[in-house]
């Protein structure tokens, strides 16, 4: 008991049990494709967090690239045909 108390004081996390953290981290693990595909159950929390940060940064970069592409396409596109294509695909 005393060890847990001292640990919580050191880490500054407010009264969250390690089991709870492990549970949440395992849930997070399922979302990261890197870790999910590796199929090993012994991924440390630190690794999961690292991969999560990397994954989110990758997603941000993808969104940036896609918005770059979209802005180019929007500038060079013929508005009528583009709108027609979009409306057709989304409504039908």
């Amino acid at each position: 008991m005393s060890s847990r108390r001292s640990r919580s004081r050191q880490s500054g996390v407010s009264r969250i049990s390690d089991d709870q953290i492990a549970d949440l981290v395992s849930k997070l693990q399922q979302l990261i494709p890197e870790i999910r595909n590796r199929r090993s159950d012994k991924v440390s929390a630190s690794k999961v967090l690292q991969e999560t940060c990397n994954y989110i940064r990758n997603l941000h970069r993808e969104v940036d690239d896609l918005s770059d592409r979209l802005s180019e396409l929007l500038e060079s596109t013929d508005s009528d045909s583009a709108q027609a294509a979009i409306i057709r695909s989304l409504l039908m």
């Binding site: 997070l28 967090l49 940060c53 918005s67 045909s81 294509a85």
Partner: protein, 206 residues
């Protein structure tokens, strides 16, 4: 004589409309999960709705000044529509919606600060990074997700799961729109449906 009952008192308000409203609000609060679950973003409908809203927003966003600002405005529109789709249930979405205002204010205050401050005297020495590596990673993660810098760990991880799911949907939807526009460009209005990769989601009634 002024009747005391005419004063609206929410506690003793026993009108049926008030009770109904309170009940329905309680019911809806019980039905919708209080915690953000990422499953919502993974449905096809959500992606379609987002694509439609984004296409609409992009249509209205015309003639930017330079190439950089047009990319910026596309990105902002995408984030804005994404945050609105979250319907205020998550912290990151609310932070995204208020960040535009905050960004402009920060720009203004930065200009004022630069004019007033003589030199960098107020910079704190950055020698306080003696956190354990796990905590450092948690902090890095919290910096990536908007509005989550001071959250407790379980809340942060919940926001993370929802945020990741939302970002994945955003990427898929934007890729879908880019494919559409690409097809529209190359076809020139001939037949825009050929470039849709996952055409199976639409139930074709022939």
């Amino acid at each position: 004589m002024v009747e005391p009952l005419s004063i609206s008192n929410p506690d003793t308000n026993s009108s049926p409309s008030g009770k109904k409203r309170r009940k329905s609000r309680r019911e809806s609060a019980a039905r919708t999960p209080a915690e953000p679950c990422g499953a919502r973003w993974r449905t096809e409908t959500e992606q379609q709705v987002y694509s439609a809203k984004l296409a609409d927003a992009l249509r209205h966003l015309r003639f930017p000044d330079s190439a950089d600002s047009s990319v910026r405005s596309v990105r902002d529109a995408a984030d804005q529509v994404l945050a609105v789709s979250a319907k205020g249930r998550t912290r990151w979405s609310r932070a995204m919606l208020t960040s535009r205002l905050g960004r402009r204010l920060a720009q203004i205050s930065r200009k004022h600060k630069k004019a007033a401050r003589p030199d960098g005297r107020f910079k704190k020495p950055a020698a306080q990074k003696k956190l354990p590596p796990l905590q450092r990673k948690v902090r890095a993660l919290s910096r990536l997700i908007p509005g989550c810098q001071k959250l407790s760990l379980p809340n942060l991880l919940e926001e993370t799961t929802d945020y990741i799911a939302a970002l994945e949907m955003q990427v898929k939807a934007m890729a879908f729109l880019a494919g559409l526009l690409n097809g529209a460009n190359s076809d020139g209005g001939g037949g825009g449906g050929g470039s849709v990769a996952d055409g199976g989601q639409y139930s074709s009634s022939s």
